[in-house]
């Protein structure tokens, strides 16, 4: 009887230990993934980077690649409300939902780069992900391309990806935001301007 009781009482304790250990392992894995994700670009931004790199022969060196996701921006947003910030920077922080940037440099002088091929490659790959190019500018050794998703754009959720190629430098940027806080600020500023004019007239 005593033996049975021991085994019954030790079983839940063992399970609890397993759960704690599992929790620690999961937490560690999530932490590692979270940390890695800060340095990994989204698929769309990666496509732009790869399209540009494929069009220029040479060795590319990464200067920086940083990806700040929804969790981090939410934490920053929540934290920012604890301080008294001016309305404009507060609105800017409230507007950003996610942002990423990658800066790369090619070691050799690439010479004349075929912007046509880069745009064609990027267009094809982005189109397969239902993103369209809204701006494309090519001038001498500069190339700028801006992509937005085909559907789902609204003031509450605006997304864009930008590719900038200038000489030896390549910059890719991705951003997701909510324009409502900025629209509210714009509206308030307009009201203020109108009120000022009204008072001036009096």
């Amino acid at each position: 009887m005593v033996t049975t009781n021991r085994s019954e009482s030790s079983f839940p304790l063992f399970r609890f230990g397993e759960i704690v250990l599992g929790g620690i392992v999961v937490g560690f894995v999530v932490l590692v993934i979270g940390v890695i994700s800060y340095f990994r670009l989204s698929p769309e931004t990666t496509i732009l980077r790869e399209s540009a790199m494929a069009g220029m022969r040479g060795t590319w060196n990464k200067t920086i690649a940083l990806n700040v996701g929804v969790l981090t921006t939410s934490a920053v947003r929540a934290g920012s409300h604890l301080f008294r910030l001016a309305p404009e920077p507060q609105a800017a922080l409230d507007a950003v939902r996610a942002a990423e940037v990658g800066v790369y440099k090619i070691s050799e002088n690439a010479g004349q780069v075929d912007h046509r091929a880069i745009l064609a490659r990027a267009d094809k790959a982005m189109s397969a992900r239902r993103w369209d190019r809204v701006v494309g500018v090519s001038r001498e050794n500069e190339l700028v391309a801006v992509y937005v998703p085909r559907r789902g754009l609204s003031a509450q959720r605006i997304q864009c990806c930008v590719l900038v190629l200038q000489g030896k430098d390549l910059i890719v940027v991705g951003a997701t935001g909510n324009l409502d806080p900025l629209l509210q600020i714009a509206g308030k500023n307009f009201d203020l301007k109108e009120a000022t004019q009204h008072l001036a007239l009096r």
Binding site: Q112, D114, H115, R116, L119, A120, D132, R133, V134, V135, G136, V137, S138, R139, E140, N141, V148, L153, S154, A155, I158, L179, L183, A186, G187, F190
Partner: protein, 191 residues
């Protein structure tokens, strides 16, 4: 089973028709085809502002500039292409400009402005419904030996509003073309 096949035979063409209707471009839209950047670092600008981006821009200015917002609300898309001319693409661009002009005239677009001066050839075309509702506007320019410009604004727009539209949407080539159109004289009416 028979009723199912009858239902299928009736509904499928209807669905297909609805799908096809949904994919029909608006009457003011013109397909210039695709353009690619000229080799050798020539200038190339392509801007394609879709309806969703126009409505976002409208939201930003509707309180501050309601008259401009009203113009933007009537638009469905704006497309601007500027292609720098090089020895490689000059003849192709000339052919395409001629092709677009011919195509527009055959599809009932009215040429309202024509300028041929100092190597510059500007044509402004308007598509209207019942003579008073503008459905679209096209500007085709061969600017000397420098560049070819293609502009298509889908929606209710007047030529004299082009510069303002370029300014509000921050499309410099459109602003420049708008100012050129403002200075130009209307094309003589067809007898």
């Amino acid at each position: 089973m028979k009723s199912l096949s009858v239902l299928g035979a009736g509904v499928l063409p209807l669905l297909l028709a609805v799908k096809l209707y949904g994919e029909t471009p608006p009457p003011g839209q013109v397909d210039f085809g695709t353009f690619s950047a000229p080799a050798g670092g020539g200038e190339f600008v392509e801007v394609n502002v879709t309806g969703s981006l126009i409505s976002l821009a409208t939201k930003f200015i509707e309180k501050d500039q309601p008259d401009v917002a009203q113009v933007l609300k009537g638009l469905q898309s704006v497309r601007v292409n500027v292609i720098g001319l090089t020895d490689e693409n000059r003849s192709d661009m000339e052919t395409r400009v001629q092709g677009v002009r011919k195509d527009l005239e055959s599809k009932g677009w009215e040429r309202i402005v024509k300028v041929q001066d100092k190597g510059q050839d500007v044509g402004v075309y308007l598509k209207t419904q019942n003579k008073d509702t503008v459905q679209g506007l096209v500007v085709v320019v061969m600017d000397g030996g420098k560049e070819a410009v293609f502009v298509n604004v889908v929606g209710d727009i007047k030529p004299e509003q082009l510069a303002m539209l370029g300014e509000k949407l921050h499309i410099d080539p459109l602003k420049k073309i708008g100012h050129q159109v403002e200075k130009s004289e209307p094309a003589p009416e067809k007898p």
